[in-house]
């Protein structure tokens, strides 16, 4: 909100500079975001951010009251002028049909009014805070709104059919052209001000064009009311229409100001209009909603909350300067009566904040809490995440953070069923609506962006984030902390070694390392299927699925404009956490040395490495300790449709040092076994 310093000084005599006032306000909770000098109007503006709990600050007098309290200066409330003769007979006819939404409505008729533009003082001030002066009547309602925070509305009485005001719910299909020219389709939820035939204003939000005051208006009905904050807010939200008026009503206006502001406006009109014929008596519908109330307040309570003792006299003085009356009930207990403009103060804790504010937060000492340290257990999910990060970073993968909301199009294109997914109904970006059921599209987008930017052809990224899907018992969608990773292109060339394309086994290898680091055994990989992949491998341990890795299909790559092979993987951090074991134990080192032998065997392409490894291990488990795939070769001297595989075998006995003869004997048997079981031949 913009506050004119000239205007402010009507209510508080403050000699400090704009910067000093700004600083005082900021440390009092009215954050001054900017100071703007307006030389043409000889004024200075303070741009103040006003929190939603303080509607009383949404006016110049409200801010002035705070300045007075913070600087301990006297505060002068705007005057409502002299008493004027009221004509009882011409009091307007008002009927309120929904007292819930409009608990208090007042109206006053001003007849035979002749007016032109506003006096220079009003015009300058309105202009300073960014309002265009229109005519005296409209300007006065705006001026009083910005002065006292009470929205007023002036109707051209001659346009009111039946010369009557009816406050009612809008009818089905009723419309209103608001003064901003917009046609608004009303609903029965909306409260309107109507005459006998039609709506003439949306209560508390905006007036209608049909009854707007114009320069030829002579008879004016001045409305000042208290509308239900929620009702105004709902209408304002429904029409996406925020006015100075709705902004204040939805926060709650000062009920007492409904009457004082109306009188202030009448006074200003009488003072500045060329002529005012007759002023009617005020018609009041309903009861002013202000109820006197008091809060019992223990003067020791602030110390308990704040950690600093504030003397009782200081407490009383602070409350008084804010317009609160503190009465001593007995020793250490006050009864604090709350004025009409402070609906936000309802509990002792609310008063603690007022006392603390005026004491100044900066004067509250800084202490360290007394704590009893407790050893808390680190969740295994977090340890898993830390380990995943360590492994991926060590393997050269860069961490990405991408949006949890993704575009559905790729799933549609791939024919992926999105039945168990969650969407937002009010997306910020129309394309990003789906809470992602997988990290794959996000990772592919990151690759795409980096390919486009020319970041090279060696791309390695990972992300740890939730994926969404299914339902939990509480009906909320399941959230699964997941690690996704992508590897694309080829290993970066360096001067000592030539490059090579990445393969599925690069991601498989990283995954194997992770599983080993997490102490997860009994791991099985088996062929899987996934819409993104042309070659997929699912991973499980102890029968529990962990995730999937695969080679992205050409169609998907093309969709993302990635010109080289892409391998993706996704593993559930939670599944890993449930299986992870961080305990380690020592096994005595072998007493006898190992010897190593290789076997190369030529087999059909369809014979898998694991079959052969399993055969080798099973052949002599007591001596054969480890089998590694050392080489896979296709080419010269190997028949088409076959491959040569070399296995490196580690022999070791726990009983004695194996002799060359002993190893050779087993190795020879093994060769025969492999030849017969795999229909292979020894490579020579």
């Amino acid at each position: 909100m913009k506050i004119s310093l000239n205007w402010l000084k009507d209510y508080v005599t403050v000699r400090k500079s704009a910067e000093e006032i700004a600083s005082v306000l900021t440390s009092g909770g009215l954050e001054v975001k900017g100071i703007e000098k307006v030389p043409s109007l000889e004024d200075i503006l303070l741009e103040i951010e006003i929190t939603s709990n303080r509607p009383d600050w949404l006016s110049h007098s409200g801010v002035a009251r705070e300045v007075a309290a913070l600087l301990d200066l006297p505060f002068k409330f705007p005057s409502c002028g002299e008493k004027r003769i009221r004509d009882k007979k011409s009091a307007p006819r008002v009927q309120v049909r929904d007292a819930g939404k409009c608990p208090y409505y007042t109206g006053c008729l001003l007849e035979g009014v002749e007016f032109g533009e506003s006096p220079e003082m009003i015009r300058k001030r309105l202009e300073a805070v960014g309002l265009r002066p229109i005519n005296l009547i409209v300007d006065v309602t705006n001026y009083v709104l910005l002065e006292m925070g009470q929205p007023l509305h002036a109707f051209d009485y001659d346009f009111l059919e039946g010369k009557k005001i009816i406050v009612r719910s809008a009818k089905e299909k009723e419309t209103l052209v608001a003064i901003n020219g917009e046609e608004i389709a009303l609903t029965p939820e909306d409260l309107v001000i109507a005459d006998e035939k039609r709506a003439v204003a949306i209560a508390g939000v905006m007036g209608g064009k049909n009854s707007e005051v114009n320069p030829r208006t002579r008879n004016i009905l001045l409305e000042s009311a208290y509308f239900n904050p929620s009702s105004v807010r709902r209408s304002s939200k429904r029409f996406n229409l925020v006015s100075e008026s709705s902004y204040r009503f939805e926060r709650g206006v000062d009920p007492v100001a409904v009457d004082t502001a109306r009188e202030r406006a009448i006074d200003l009109i009488c003072r500045y209009a060329k002529r005012v014929g007759k002023i009617s008596a005020v018609t009041r519908c309903g009861k002013n909603p202000f109820r006197k109330r008091a809060i019992r307040f223990s003067t020791g309570f602030p110390a308990r909350i704040l950690g600093v003792r504030i003397p009782e006299a200081k407490i009383c003085n602070s409350l008084k300067s804010l317009g609160l009356k503190a009465r001593k009930v007995h020793k250490g207990v006050l009864s604090v009566s709350i004025p009409s403009f402070r609906a936000d103060l309802a509990r002792p804790i609310d008063l603690v904040e007022e006392v603390a504010r005026l004491f100044s937060y900066d004067r509250i000492p800084e202490t360290m809490p007394e704590i009893h340290p407790a050893l808390w257990e680190e969740k295994s999910l977090r340890r898993v995440e830390a380990l995943l990060r360590r492994v991926f970073l060590g393997a050269g993968f860069n961490e990405a953070v991408t949006f949890s909301l993704v575009n559905e199009r790729i799933f549609e294109k791939l024919g992926v069923d999105l039945k168990n997914t969650t969407r937002v109904i009010n997306p910020q970006n129309k394309e990003l609506t789906l809470l992602r059921p997988t990290l794959f599209p996000s990772l592919l987008e990151v690759l795409k962006g980096n390919v486009y930017r020319g970041s090279g052809s060696d791309l390695k990224i990972f992300e740890i984030a939730n994926i969404f899907g299914g339902e939990t018992p509480g009906n909320l969608p399941a959230e699964q902390m997941t690690c996704g990773f992508a590897l694309a292109g080829m290993r970066k060339n360096h001067w000592l070694e030539k490059t090579r394309n990445y393969a599925l086994f690069d991601v498989k290898g990283v995954l194997e390392e992770i599983l080993e680091d997490l102490g997860i055994r009994d791991v099985s990989f088996c062929a899987g299927a996934n819409a993104f992949f042309e070659e997929a491998l699912s991973v499980a341990a102890s029968g529990k699925p962990l995730g999937m890795i695969g080679k992205v299909s050409k169609a998907v790559r093309d969709y993302y404009d990635i010109p080289f092979d892409v391998f993706l993987g996704e593993i559930s951090s939670e599944a890993l956490a449930s299986l992870a074991s961080f305990d380690r134990s020592f096994r005595a080192l072998p007493k006898f040395p190992a010897s190593r032998r290789d076997i190369s065997i030529v087999v059909k392409e369809t014979v898998c490495a694991k079959e052969i490894v399993d055969l080798i291990v099973a052949h002599h488990p007591a001596w054969i300790r480890q089998v590694e795939v050392a080489d896979v070769y296709r080419g010269e001297k190997i028949p088409k449709g076959s491959k040569s595989m070399t296995f490196s075998i580690e022999y070791r006995s726990d009983e004695h040092t194996l002799t060359a003869e002993e190893v050779s004997r087993v190795q020879d048997q093994l060769v025969e076994l492999l030849k017969s079981r795999t229909e292979g031949s020894l490579r020579t």
Partner: protein, 348 residues
């Protein structure tokens, strides 16, 4: 070189010793390679060397001369041996590469990845609080109105909701608009004392620009027991912000409004970019707003079934992106989510 069968006369011996004493050690010192030194060694000490001949000839020298010449020959031999050893050591230190090795070639790096600056910032912040014995916890991202609003004292149809624009799902749930939801989830399950720190993603349908994103990260903190005060809140925040931004950091506590705390405060740190003199980052104010905090509102305690008369404490929240942008001098929030490798690699 002389014939081994040859025998020096008394006069020969004198001449040889004179010459060797004068020249031998300087010739050894002048050797430029191991090969050269080896040649000299053979010349002086080999079987056919003159010094060896001297030694062999000493027997034929008259006894009165023998002991003196013998001593001279022996001490010469000894000193030459010492010089030889020294020079040999010298020459062995000189490197003689077989081929030229270009040592300016770059090393072969295993190639590590870079942690995302958001993760890095979260780690920096949570580590400080963990040292203060706060426990790391996590919450949900899709939430109900109760956890995101009602329990946090944000009533329906209330303007305080305006600060928390929220994404809703078809099922009537929402994406949490602040990590304060975790406070409620934890307090519902556990009894005080509590000291927790909860980082996570939050969502607000803001228009995306250089300083706004519809998804960002927050860190929520909560401390509840029977006696923790607002001055304790100030103390903890003070320790935290100085640990994060440096020992010289000055703090400013401004009253503010949050529905879930009372009293509420916004915390500014002195601008570390311009040393609080005023720059474009702090908007010439010298202060940077970094976090919100306050004493937990009694209504929140009531919502989770705590007795508001028996417990008290504080809560705070901060935006991770904001802190990271300030710390690293990043001027556009969108960079965090674009994951440009040229950006990510800067945080290696």
């Amino acid at each position: 070189m002389s014939d081994p069968s040859e025998v020096y006369t008394h006069q020969n011996i004198k001449e040889v010793l004179d010459e060797l004493e004068r020249t031998a050690s300087s010739r050894l010192a002048a050797a430029e390679s191991a090969e050269e030194l080896e040649k000299l060694r053979l010349e002086f000490f080999g079987k056919k060397a003159r010094l060896s001949l001297v030694m062999r000839s000493l027997g034929s020298v008259p006894p009165e001369e023998r002991s003196l010449l013998g001593q001279r020959a022996n001490s010469l031999r000894k000193s030459l041996e010492e010089v030889l050893a020294k020079e040999s050591a010298r020459l062995s230190k000189v490197l003689h590469p077989r081929a030229f090795l270009d040592l300016t070639l770059p090393g072969i790096r295993p190639g590590r990845g870079a942690v995302h600056p958001i993760t890095r910032t979260i780690a920096q912040i949570t580590e400080i609080f963990e040292k203060l014995n706060f426990e790391w916890v996590e919450g949900r991202e899709v939430e109900t109105t109760f956890y995101n609003f009602t329990a946090l004292n944000i009533p329906e149809d209330h303007p305080s909701r305006d600060a928390f624009d929220t994404f809703f799902t078809r099922e009537g749930h929402l994406l949490r608009s602040q990590t304060s939801t975790v406070q409620i989830r934890v307090m519902e399950k556990r009894k005080p004392p509590l000291r927790i720190i909860a980082p996570g993603r939050v969502y607000r349908p803001d228009t995306v620009d250089a300083s706004h994103s519809f998804m960002f990260h927050q860190i929520e903190g909560l401390m509840v027991d029977e006696k923790t005060t607002f001055s304790d809140l100030k103390g903890v925040i003070h320790v935290f912000l100085r640990a994060l931004f440096g020992k010289k950091t000055k703090l400013r506590f401004r009253p503010h409004f949050f529905p879930f705390t009372e009293p509420s405060v916004e915390v500014d740190v002195s601008c570390f970019i311009c040393d609080a003199k005023g720059c474009s980052v702090c908007g010439q104010k010298g202060w940077l707003e970094v976090m919100g905090a306050g004493s937990v509102d009694p209504n929140v305690f009531e919502a989770v079934g705590y007795d508001p008369g028996a417990v008290q404490g504080f809560a705070f929240g901060l935006g991770v992106e904001r802190i990271a942008m300030l710390k690293y001098g990043i001027t556009d929030i969108r960079l965090f989510y674009e994951n440009d490798l040229r950006f990510l690699r800067q945080f290696q």
